[in-house]
Amino acid sequence: MGRTLAEKVWEQHVVRRADGEPDLLFIDLHLIHEVTSPQAFDGLRMAGRPVRRPDLTIATEDHNVPTVRGPIADPVSRTQVETLRKNAAEFGIRLHPMGDAGQGVVHIIGPQFGLTQPGMTIVCGDSHTSTHGAFGGIAFGIGTSEVEHVLATQTLPAYRPKTMAIEVKGALPFGVTAKDLILAIIAEIGTGGGQGYIVEYRGEAIRNLSMEGRMTVCNMSIEAGARAGLIAPDETTFNYLKGRPHAPEGEAWDAAVEYWKTLSTDDDAVFDKVVEIDAATLAPFVTWGTNPGQGAPLSSVVPAPEQFGDPIERSAAERALEYMGLTAGTRLTDVEVDTVFVGSCTNGRLEDLRAAAEILQGRQVKTRTLIVPGSMMVKLQAEAEGLHEVFKAAGAEWREAGCSMCLGMNPDTLAPGERSASTSNRNFEGRQGKGGRTHLVSPQVAAATAVTGKLTAPADLV
């Protein structure tokens, strides 16, 4: 019987297999940031262990960094970033600190450097590590104990998850983005639908996505409960990688591409679960609740809790509407927002900024609007194209790279009761600041919303 892509990549990385034990899996790339690593380095020091493969490890500062120039004002945040610097220096790990041209959100810089390649195993103490699966590898988030484990051994003991195919049939309608697609998928299968699975995204609509779009889709796999999501590499992948600083060159490139071309699911392989999505039925999507599965087409209304047959879902919806300050039956396009955020590891890449700029060109924003590039490199590229001038002319704020308003660890937060349209990945209670209310949207919807001050699809702009 044939094998799925996930099974091929997994098998390729098994260091040791024994009956009744998890596989010991080799890790090709370990990404580090300041939040989930300090206690891991402490553990190494206490046990007198070195980092086994600093040459397969890279660190950046992202979660705590302010997105306006200058030092970190919060002493606790500053200590955490300084701790990463000390640890990176002590253990010989390459670090891209604030102000460095290579600095940025950890899941933006891996692909940008060409460090993320097909067929690799990649981990990071961050659940959105699933982003890197867009290149056809197995990438997943881990906790601090596992960060320490990978630092010490470059391996992880793990049981292979089951495999799920999400087959997106047909082409996405005009104006429907990768973000709308993944929000619709999560609403369909639920926040627990992917638990225990590696998801392979397949089908025409997936094949037609750019690498940036594929990263957006894989990024939010964890919001459907799946630790990892991946997409088979193809010419789009190879074209994206070629010429990047860490991509192979010359004969090594040819050998790599030959191998990468074997990285697809065999025709006779069987997935443990298959979900089919009809792309033609999709439309711009937005969340109305407090988990990423509570979403609906932007053209619809806030649902009534009574619509949910399952009592647990019903009470979750009741709680969510109360927290969000929404009334059932309200048209989603009538919901007014205070802040728009374009950025994050979900939608902070150049393509996302271009999409927002295209809509903001020649228009004025009515809300506080933060445009935060995912990395310094994205920032430089955007500025080379003049996107920053478009944003500033529209009245938006053009910021430095970082996680920013995706989570409340840096100065960019919502005040209690404030409502945002956000291109990030989580609408959890308090995620963007205590009492803040988050609607997850695509960069296009975010930009159109900034123009009108209400949740808006670009097609509805005059």
């Binding site: 260091v15 939040v35 200590t79 906790g143 051994t153 790599a256 989580r426 959890f428």
Partner: protein, 195 residues
């Protein structure tokens, strides 16, 4: 980590689903560089509400959390596990868990127990009716016992053994350093290096 064989204690019923790790420990608490003191951040936003179940004196001293489904979804922050443990919890019982949270728990010796939604409901009702109800979570027998009933739960043999012995994963893996070195010598030459 501390070995876990069997534990008997009282429980807190948490009647919420999708308890994400941002609720268990909000992001502002993640700035700490130490491993201690996270109990103060446990459910920090919800604990500001006097009617939140953890504020009910009837549940003081409870060591088992009985939650709605999809407990520990979202962020990979192990701080969520540390916060629960440091607050005094040894076990979380739910019908479904976020994968990363469940993994992190077993690395630290906090036992995540999956029971059917019906069993969770029965336990929650029993604890709500009498907060002094004792629940026994027996890892050796893979059983939860309370209020005259017994439920079995599944956990793989290896994780169970590691928890019962209180073993450190890194030490176990380093016994296979030769296998790791052998694998490293066979890796494709084009694979990227960061330095």
């Amino acid at each position: 980590m501390d070995a876990f064989v069997t534990h008997t204690g009282t429980a807190v019923p948490l009647r919420r689903s999708n308890v994400d790790t941002d609720q268990i420990i909000p992001a502002v608490w993640l700035k700490q560089v130490s491993r201690t003191g996270f109990e103060r951040g446990l459910f920090a936003a919800w604990r500001e509400d006097p009617s939140f179940v953890l504020n009910d004196p009837a549940y003081t001293g409870a060591s088992i959390l009985v939650s709605g489904p999809d407990f520990g979804t979202g962020s990979s922050r192990e701080h969520a596990v540390w916060a629960l443990q440091q607050y005094g919890f040894r076990v979380v019982i739910a019908a479904r868990f976020g994968d990363i949270f469940r993994n992190n728990s077993t690395k630290m010796g906090l036992l995540p127990v999956i029971l059917s939604p019906e069993a969770v409901e029965t336990l929650q009702k029993a604890v709500e009716a009498d907060p002094a109800t004792e629940i026994t979570v027996d890892l050796a027998e893979r059983q939860v016992r309370a209020a005259g009933e017994t439920w079995s739960f599944e956990i793989d043999d290896y994780t169970r053994w590691r928890l019962m012995e209180g073993l450190d994963d890194i030490g176990l893996t380093l016994r296979h350093a030769d296998a790791i070195a052998a694998y490293e010598s066979e890796r494709q030459p084009w694979l990227p290096k960061t330095a």
